[in-house]
């Protein structure tokens, strides 16, 4: 009798915790929609998405986020180009090639990398990477989308490495044995069998890594230069969606147009990360 009651109570507590998480997500989304749409109504969604100029504190203000969207996408693309090959190769090394002692140390280091706060990475990037980028590439300033991509690539790596490593490791050993039995070399086995079998998991890892990059704020605020102009190459300064919200949230007065414009940006970001997570989820399910 007694144990039945305990069972009942614990079951309800778990249920409540689960429900609360969902309720909060729905509430946050609802709030974002409410403020965002109030802004779209007043300013026009077309002017917002395709407007070229972001001058929020002028009179009259212009809230065009086109250059910010391009900035975010450019930095993210650059980070992906850097982090994806490195991440997958590191994962392969850890899962397939490294001797046991090295593997354990490497794995711990990768996990520690994930624990470095983004401000710290941003600061290190600002004082070391930015001057280096400027002098090596001989460009006007080191505060560019490229510097942002490097810092963010560094941040996406741990996610990509640990999830792809899990995926590679969960490839059944019979596949590999089979390939070896047929006379395949180690590289042939890895390329044709292991990578192929682990592909859905690796793609999910890449998507989650990119999701982290596009939402990252502090590091990009410090190294990308924050110029709200459409960049002509990756070696130009850019301003990202997240950096704009972070830099300007403090000055806005609750309920003002600028305040709502920032929620509009939040909605754009939410849509982008939602799409990315959705793709990741598709691939993760395919894996099962």
């Amino acid at each position: 009798m007694n144990s039945k009651i305990t069972d009942y109570i614990i079951e309800k507590i778990i249920f409540l915790c689960g429900i609360i998480a969902i309720v909060f997500v729905v509430l946050i989304f609802g709030f974002l929609l409410k403020e965002g749409f109030a802004f779209f109504k007043e300013y026009g969604i077309f002017n917002f998405i395709f407007g070229k100029y972001w001058y929020p504190s002028s009179n009259p203000a212009s809230y065009g986020v086109f250059s910010l969207i391009i900035g975010s996408l450019l930095v993210t693309l650059g980070a992906a180009i850097i982090a994806v090959p490195f991440g997958i190769m590191t994962a392969l090394f850890i899962a397939e090639l490294a001797p046991k002692g090295i593997r354990d140390i490497l794995k711990s280091i990768v996990e520690l990398m994930a624990a470095i706060p983004s401000v710290v990475l941003g600061f290190v990037g600002m004082v070391t990477l930015v001057p280096l980028v400027r002098s090596i590439l001989d460009i006007p300033t080191g505060l560019t989308a490229f510097s942002g991509s490097i810092v963010l690539g560094f941040m996406a790596m741990p996610t990509i490495v640990s999830i792809s490593e899990d995926a590679i490791r969960s490839v059944p050993w019979q596949y590999k044995e089979g390939a070896y039995a047929l006379g395949a070399t180690k590289w042939q086995t890895i390329r044709r069998v292991v990578l192929k079998a682990a592909m859905p998991g690796i793609i999910a890892a890449v998507m989650l890594g990119i999701g982290r990059v596009i939402g990252e704020t502090m590091a990009v605020l410090m190294v990308t230069g924050n110029a709200a102009a459409i960049p002509s190459s990756i070696f130009d300064p850019v301003r990202t969606l997240t950096a704009t919200i972070a830099a300007e949230m403090g000055e806005t007065v609750r309920g003002g147009l600028h305040y709502r414009a920032l929620f509009g940006i939040g909605l754009v970001l939410f849509t982008i990360t939602f799409i990315i997570n959705f793709i990741a989820d598709l691939f993760l399910n395919k894996k099962r």
Binding site: G142, L143, A247, E251
Partner: protein, 289 residues
């Protein structure tokens, strides 16, 4: 097994580092909060420390964030005094009225905005018209004003900064309230004045602006001439105090309504002779008595 050991070692290192660096903060009296302009945050910080000594440890919290942030905080009732490097604007006053907040203004000092370039830049003098053309990206290479053949990199503050607004009004718009001119969108918006100084220090292409408190050996300040004048003035304390240097401005503290209690004491202290001495010590310009 290896990994657990690895973590333990790391944890141990962390603990040692941590115990070296932590200090107990003291919290004696419930005090007040001051927020706003990054420009004068150093000055107000010193006032706060001295004020706290005189008034048996009254706790005064000082945080920056930008002038706009300070006004918003005063409106949202999360601070007692707002620091500002520009005057409160019409639409901000109107917004405040809706929430039954009335700003009370105190001028507590003066500041000049120094135009900073890298030490290796041969340029020494600049007219305010040239400066305007540079920050609107009409001039994009240093050789157009007699410097080396290098592209110009513009450094500005974030738009919530009073420094940004003041530079826009005085240099870009030349104090014409009907002007709609803006900074070039190519200008890099830096999160703090220190970030501007740091970037100029290592980048020979850069030009930026910051309060004269940020002038140090790391960068070079330019002498500036006013409109229709050929006399260039270096941003010194005297030139700012007597209004010769064209890019100078008052610094403000704002309270919600008439200040009372310790808030009043603090403002009285800032305006006192002793308070104004601190203004000089922190490289700002005292108000003329």
């Amino acid at each position: 097994m290896h990994r657990t050991k690895f973590y333990i070692v790391f944890l141990a290192i962390f603990c040692v580092l941590f115990s070296c660096s932590t200090q107990q903060g003291k919290n004696i009296n419930a005090g007040m909060q001051i927020k706003g302009s990054d420009t004068i945050v150093n000055l107000v910080q010193v006032w706060a420390e001295k004020f706290s000594q005189i008034n048996d440890g009254t706790n005064v919290g000082v945080t920056g964030g930008g002038t706009g942030t300070g006004f918003a905080a005063l409106l949202n009732n999360t601070c007692d005094i707002a620091m500002a490097s520009r005057q409160v604007e019409e639409n901000e006053i109107n917004l405040a009225k809706k929430q039954n907040v009335s700003y009370k203004e105190f001028i507590v000092g003066l500041d000049g905005l120094a135009v900073l370039v890298n030490k290796d830049n041969p340029i020494n003098d600049i007219s305010i018209d040239q400066l305007r053309d540079i920050f609107m990206a009409k001039i994009t290479n240093w050789k157009e004003i007699g410097g080396e053949d290098r592209p110009i990199v513009l450094l500005s503050r974030e738009s919530n900064s009073g420094t940004h607004m003041f530079f826009k009004e005085t240099v870009i718009r030349l104090n014409d309230i009907n002007s709609k001119d803006e900074f070039s969108p190519k200008a890099l918006l830096m999160p703090s004045s220190q970030a501007i100084v740091d970037e100029i220090y290592q980048n020979p292409n850069a030009i930026g602006y910051a309060g004269i408190g940020f002038m140090n050996g790391q960068t070079k300040a330019l002498s500036v001439s006013a409109q229709n004048s050929i006399e260039y003035f270096y941003p010194t304390i005297e030139n700012v105090m007597y209004g010769r240097y064209p890019i100078s401005r008052p610094l403000y503290l704002y309270t919600n309504g008439e200040p009372k209690g310790i808030v009043k004491d603090f403002i009285d202290y800032a305006l006192s002779e002793e308070g104004q001495k601190v203004v000089v010590e922190t490289a700002f310009v005292p108000i003329k008595k």
